[in-house]
Assembly symmetry: C2
Homo-oligomer: 289 residues x 2
């Protein structure tokens, strides 16, 4: 038997694809319990683990609109909700499309997101998503940072590290995150609404069909969006052997018949939906969408 | 650059090859501190970590000879100290040689080991090593099991497991352990004498030149040793496609110019010598000799 197929089959036989849920009384794991999951590189959910956070208890659309009434936020805009995702480029080939970024007044941004979610906008309306990952809750949104715990104690104690970044993301169901992975230990906390995760362990690398994709940026112009190659000096970079491409997963477990590899059918995605107050540990190097 | 060479180079740049030594006041790590090492798959030493064990405080050759005066022990015998090691076989090819095993009265076994160590035996004398790994300290040597701690609390609490096996090994400097690895978390405690370890992390797999070796057993006969293929029904197994071989490391960091791969020179072995009372955490899947 193909050893990669054997590894994938054994992994899912041993581990299954059901995420561990810790006690649903909201009790966080101890640092040692957390470290066991880090050591096994295995996700878990603590239902209601952040139920006592002020943000979970007090935030609503109207609360945020008032709290951030004077704020300007960085918003990622795409024609279709696919930011940082494989997309058909201007020449018909698949490229990696990064969103158009612009500063917007927070109340207008929030109203747009809510209206779109309620179906009050055209089906063809652009998608807006506040998704900066530059530690925005301690900077861009510093005025509401006191509404969340300043760190996750069980993770800080276990890993002996302060959080490198604390990010707040605000969007609606039109925003789709393409399958990707990061080299960080992540704790997600759901404050409002729901988020649906699809997770794959790192050993599914042979399943996800990573391909080098050239990076393009959406640019808003002439009332529409255009995809422009990212590097201004793209020609020089090509000369130096760097074509500005990034490796990216082409296979998506939500459309398993497209772009599959010979191993994709062996992957058993782990699915979990977070509700307000729920907490998810996403281990470093897991694929997530 | 070759990605495997790059991985090996980066690993040793980041991690070095010096083993972590915890405080030398014999303080064991907490379960959480231990779990951090498990998560990082990284060895450590606790100098004098077992200094308070009755075995460390009371055992000597004469003590053991008395305590086990009536015991019969399983002894591994080889002509040269290389048990479970690559060896030139009867047909000139390299095979995997397992030791001759026999039951001996413990006092005679111990006297032999001591005499050989003192140079009182011929240079060509066989090597004897009590090295069973079948949880022998709770069975074969049960009468002295009370002299050691019944488990390692920091490991039991962290891993939520009782020890699967507790083994006592008795030999002298003529016994050599070939580079190998096991899928177990190991805690070694040195009771008497010294043991020299050479360790390589699991990612050194491309360095160690694993080859399939046919298994042979030493058999004592006619005043000497003969190597006999292990399976009595070897022909039938070959017919079924199983030639009774095991993958085994051919490269030894102690003889780095022999059997090397293109990656062997990138491996930076970690060396550590244990003295009485010292404790070593050897993570699962590390190579050890």
């Amino acid at each position: 038997m193909d050893p990669i197929a054997e590894l994938l089959t054994s992994y899912f036989e041993l581990n299954g694809n059901i995420i561990d849920e810790l006690d649903d009384d909201g009790t966080e794991p101890s640092p040692l319990e957390f470290m066991r999951y880090v050591a096994r590189n295995t996700p878990f959910v603590v239902r209601r683990g952040a139920a006592s956070w002020p943000a979970v208890q007090t935030w609503s659309m109207s609360f945020l609109r008032k709290a951030l009434a004077e704020h300007i936020v960085n918003v990622a805009v795409t024609p279709n909700g696919y930011a940082d995702a494989p997309t058909i480029g201007p020449d018909g080939e698949v490229i990696f499309a990064k969103p158009w970024e612009e500063d917007q007044a927070f109340p207008e941004f929030l109203d747009y997101v809510v209206q779109q979610e309620k179906g009050q906008l055209d089906a063809s309306a652009e998608t807006r998503y506040a998704q900066t990952q530059n530690d925005n809750l301690r900077h861009e949104y510093a005025s509401v940072f006191s509404h969340v715990y300043k760190d996750i104690p069980f993770a800080r104690i276990a890993l002996q590290r302060e959080p490198e970044a604390i990010n707040l993301w605000i969007g609606n169901s039109h925003s789709v995150t393409a399958m990707h992975r990061d080299n960080y230990e992540n704790i997600y906390v759901q404050v409002l609404g729901q988020k649906h995760f699809v997770l794959l362990p790192p050993l599914c690398q042979p399943c996800v069909n990573e391909q080098p994709l050239r990076q393009y940026n959406y640019v808003r112009a002439d009332g529409g969006f255009h995809l422009i190659p990212e590097a201004p000096d793209a020609e020089e970079q090509v000369k130096a052997g760097d074509d500005n491409s990034v490796p990216f997963a082409m296979w998506d477990p939500e459309a398993p018949g497209k772009n599959e590899t010979q191993y994709s059918r062996l992957a058993e995605p782990m699915r979990v939906t977070l509700n307000p107050g729920d907490m998810l540990y996403l281990p470093a190097m897991w694929y997530v969408s």
